[in-house]
C-alpha cells in the first residue's frame, strides 16, 4: 500500500466521516487524492464494525457530488475566460471540440452517468459539461444518480472483500478501463457511420 494512501487511511481513522467527506470532495475537485481507494477502505472498516456502511455511502456520495458540482460551476463561469487567456482558444474553437460539446449535450445523461465510473473521465466530463453550459439541474440530477451508484459499487467491494480489497478493486479498475475503451470504440464506429450517411445524403442531393 503506498505511503499517501496510508496517510489518508490514518486521517480517516482519526477524523472519521468528516475526513471521508473531505477526501471525496477534494478528489472530485481534481486534486490528486485516492478517493476511490479511501472509500473502499472505509467500507472495509465498516465491514469490521468500525463505521456504519450506510453513513459511509451517504457521506462519500455527498463529497463526490459536491466536488463535481463545484467543478462544473467553476468550469462554466471561469473555464472559457481562463482557457482563452492561456492561449488555448484554438482548441476551444476547433471543430473537434465543438463536436464533443454537441455530443455531450445530446447524450448528456449517458455521458455523465457512465463517466462516474472512472476518475479521469469524471473530471474531463465535469469540465466539458461546464464549458458546454449543460443544464445545471440536469447535470446535478445525473451526478446524484451516477455518484451514488458508483459509491455503492466500490463500497460493496470493501464491505464484502475486506482485506482483499486492494486486489479486487484493482480488478474492478481494469474492468472499467475495458468498458470505457469499448464504449469509446463503439462511439467512434457510430460517428464514422453517421458521417458516411451525411456524406452520402449530400452526394445524392447534389445529383
Amino acid at each position: 500500500m503506498d505511503v499517501i494512501l496510508q496517510q489518508i487511511l490514518s486521517f480517516i481513522l482519526l477524523y472519521k466521516y468528516l475526513a471521508l467527506f473531505g477526501v471525496a470532495f477534494l478528489a472530485s475537485l481534481a486534486l490528486p487524492f485516492p478517493s476511490d481507494s479511501a472509500i473502499v477502505a472505509a467500507s472495509a472498516f465498516a465491514g469490521q464494525g468500525y463505521f456504519n456502511i450506510g453513513l459511509v455511502i451517504l457521506i462519500a456520495s455527498l463529497g463526490n457530488i459536491s466536488g463535481d458540482y463545484i467543478g462544473y460551476w467553476v468550469s462554466r463561469i471561469y473555464g472559457r475566460p481562463i482557457l482563452y487567456k492561456i492561449g488555448l482558444h484554438k482548441v476551444l474553437d476547433s471543430k473537434v471540440f465543438t463536436w464533443i460539446e454537441s455530443e455531450v449535450r445530446v447524450h448528456s445523461g449517458v455521458v455523465v452517468l457512465l463517466s462516474r465510473l472512472n476518475v479521469f473521465v469524471t473530471l474531463t466530463v465535469n469540465i466539458v459539461a461546464g464549458l458546454s453550459r449543460m443544464s445545471s439541474k440536469l447535470f446535478l440530477l445525473y451526478i446524484v444518480i451516477g455518484e451514488t451508484i458508483q459509491v455503492i459499487i466500490i463500497a460493496s467491494i470493501g464491505y464484502f472483500f475486506g482485506s482483499n480489497w486492494q486486489t479486487i478493486y484493482g480488478i474492478f479498475g481494469k474492468f472499467t478501463l475495458v468498458l470505457f475503451l469499448f464504449a469509446a470504440l463503439m462511439f467512434a464506429l457510430a460517428h464514422k457511420k453517421a458521417m458516411e450517411r451525411i456524406i452520402e445524403k449530400r452526394q445524392l442531393s447534389q445529383k
Binding site: M1, Q6, Q7, L9, S10, L13, L14, A44, F45, G47, Q48, G49, Y50, Y159, F160, F161, G162, S163, N164, T167, I168, G170, I171, K174, F175, L177, V178, L181, F182, A184, L185, A188, L189, H191, K192, M195
Partner: protein, 129 residues
C-alpha cells in the same frame, strides 16, 4: 510513382484501429489479473480461519493484519478490546490515546517501528487468548 495515401488510412480509421488494439490489450490485462488473483487464493473462502466465518462482521480481521498506520481506537473496536487495555499493557502515557496512530506514537517515543508493531500484535494476541 503514385504517392497518394490509401483511402482507408484516414484519421478516424487510425483512431478506431488504435482503440481496437487498446481494447484487446486491456481485456487481456484484465483476464490475466483475474487469473493471477484466483490462483493466489483471493477468491477462496478458506483463506480465513473457520472461527471468523461465523463472525457477525462481514470482514474478518487477523492480528497479522495490524499495520502501523492504524490507530489504537480502531484496534480496540475491531478486536473488542477494553478501552484502556492497550494503554495499560503497553504503558502508553500520551493524552491523545486512543485517537493516535501506532507509527506516530512510535515516532514520538523513539521506538523502532517494526519492534513496536510486534509488541502491539503480541498484546492483542495475549488478550484474545
Amino acid at each position: 510513382m503514385d504517392n497518394k495515401r490509401p483511402n482507408w488510412l484516414t484519421g478516424e480509421n487510425v483512431v478506431i484501429f488504435i482503440l481496437i488494439i487498446a481494447c484487446a490489450a486491456a481485456f487481456w490485462w484484465l483476464v490475466s489479473s483475474i487469473n493471477f488473483s484466483y490462483k493466489s487464493g483471493y477468491f477462496h473462502p478458506q483463506r480465513y480461519p473457520r472461527e471468523y466465518l461465523n463472525s457477525t462482521t462481514t470482514v474478518p480481521f487477523l492480528v497479522s493484519d495490524i499495520q502501523l498506520w492504524m490507530t489504537f481506537d480502531y484496534l480496540n473496536k475491531v478486536f473488542g478490546l477494553p478501552q484502556n487495555y492497550l494503554k495499560q499493557s503497553m504503558n502508553i502515557q500520551d493524552g491523545r490515546y486512543p485517537n493516535l496512530q501506532l507509527n506516530r506514537y512510535a515516532e514520538l517515543n523513539n521506538i523502532n517501528a517494526q519492534e513496536f508493531i510486534k509488541s502491539v500484535r503480541s498484546a492483542v494476541q495475549a488478550y484474545k487468548k
